[in-house]
Symmetry: C2
Subunit: 182 residues, 2 copies
């Protein structure tokens, strides 16, 4: 039952994409290796042909998640300019759509809590990705580089907090939180 190199690469990619969605939807600790493999149509045993352990999957899935978000942002930026791209992203960030569909959304509100309690290696991976996102958002702001970066951090932080709170609230309060942070 050995698979070709290409088939292996396809499996690896599929596992990563399923993991990326599941982690954002259910959290890291609450998503099992078996869950991820089953979602990719496989059994859990084969997992260790692709990843050293669950931590390695988490790190790789995190990179994959940010890669996907950043590449969308860059594409839109080339099409319509950085200001529009960033404006659209920040507008989408505080929508009901984003709050109710974490699997397709930003990993920060869902995963940052758990990452904060995990290994330095994962924190370091997260930091790298967060820096990239902040830099991309800063492209949409005016002023000196330093100034734009600070504005980007504030814009992101407020929206991360808003989505985090909105997801933990009843519909009524969630609505107020989103409206106030628009």
């Amino acid at each position: 039952m050995r698979r070709s190199r290409q088939e292996k690469a396809e499996t690896h990619d599929a596992v990563l994409k399923r993991a990326s969605r599941l982690f954002r939807e259910r959290g890291i600790e609450t998503t099992s290796v078996s869950d991820v493999m089953a979602e990719a149509g496989l059994t859990h045993g084969g997992f260790y042909r692709h990843f050293a352990n669950k931590d390695a999957l988490v790190a790789e899935a995190l990179r994959e998640t940010f890669d996907s978000i950043l590449s969308q942002l860059e594409t839109r930026s080339r099409e319509a300019g950085a200001k529009t791209a960033v404006g659209d992203y920040l507008r989408y960030y505080v929508t009901k759509e984003h709050v109710t569909h974490p699997a397709e959304g930003c990993p920060i509100p869902t995963l940052a809590g758990e990452i904060g309690r995990s290994s330095d290696a994962l924190k370091s991976e997260f930091s790298e990705q967060a820096r990239r996102l902040i830099a991309a958002i800063a492209e949409g702001f005016d002023g000196t580089d330093q100034d734009a970066r600070e504005q980007a951090i504030r814009a992101l932080a407020m929206r991360v907090g808003a989505v985090l709170i909105a997801r933990a609230c009843d519909a009524d309060l969630a609505k107020d939180v989103l409206a106030s942070c628009r």
Copy 2:
């Protein structure tokens, strides 16, 4: 070995206070009933004389946590006025102290992610407590009630996001995030 009514109440309170700290420090899912009981100097078996199940502990501990924070805020508000009390709280929120000591800090950055994925009952409890905190923070802002409330939500959301991100980052990025959100 039966204990008096007062001793039972003291035990209940101790368990709640330990749970409040542990949940904020390690997260809900990652803190076991045994951990909490051991921290209170007891064995796990007695837990069910105090709580129907772990969910009930989580809900009660969440209320206890917010009660404690709000009572501190109110005391300070009576001493120095709402503006100063709220100003102090928001300043403390984005300090290194708060980032590195989650056990004594606000439960929102640590627990909101997990609460968002849990039962409606817990979300409803969280919503009630969040509304109280928002109302207390709004006391420190000017304008109409509606206006002050929206400012309070924005101020809280940005700081929740900042602390959440800072805890998941390396020291370098954490510093920038806190500085930008001050």
